[in-house]
């Protein structure tokens, strides 16, 4: 299933069947932009029971930094 937006054709993650990795990659920016219209850009949890191990592995952070939307 594909969607026509104003600028591009975006593949949909389907209910049945599967989506190719390439199509999933193509939809990344559109999905990110949709979410950014309704909630803050980064919504990673501030803390969790895994903090100790995460911060040890990621130099005080809880994970790798997210790729900016414009680079998706």
């Amino acid at each position: 299933m594909w969607l026509m937006t104003s600028k591009l054709t975006v593949p949909c993650i389907p209910l049945d069947g599967s989506i190719s990795y390439e199509d999933w990659l193509k939809g990344r920016r559109y999905r990110r932009e949709l979410g950014n219209r309704v909630a803050p850009g980064v919504i990673r949890r501030q803390r969790s029971s895994s903090d100790r191990r995460l911060k040890k592995l990621f130099q005080g952070e809880r994970g790798l930094p997210f790729t900016p939307t414009e680079k998706l």
Binding site: C12, P14, R31, R37, I43
Partner: protein, 206 residues
Amino acid sequence: MGSPKVQAALADISAEQDPTLKCAKLASLCSALWAEHGGELVVVGGSAIEILTDGAYTSGDLDLCHTAAALPLPTQRQIMGLLQAKGGPRNWQVAGMYLDLLGPVESLARTPYRRIEGPYGRFLLMKPEDLLVERVFISHYSGGNEEARDCAKKLIAVILGGALAVDWNEVRRLANLPEYRNLSQCAALVKDVANDLEVDSPLHSA
């Protein structure tokens, strides 16, 4: 998958600096190796929501459950050894992130797991119908949880934007189950997001 292929995949995943891609690639590799032994894994929780939404939500860990019977522990250890993983038996460090091998997957939805043909093999994602109703439930739990609410809103936005297919009848059924009883809360949040996106809401509580 032979050891050279696994090592090449590990090198790729270790070098990956995008947290969402790193999760997806590791899920693909693990799922392929599990499948070779008759096992089936599902990406669950925040990791699944991240891959379904690109919502900048995930942390540096990937949560995986199994669908049918778990692989025997020696087989799991053999696979994790091939992946040069440290730790175990549930919590592993592999390719520069954490991997948590949890128990059997818990899903109330009758819809299929979503499927991505990943770079190393197909992998399964928790059903967004379950994820949506559960996140709305958590967002109202114990006085309110803003992080869960934002997470649910992003998931709804991706669905309403047409980038992720769901069965709204199934969402309605789940939200009416005794485990949740939160249809009015789900409908209200879907309406909020629909208003933000200037589209019609497909979920009504009446």
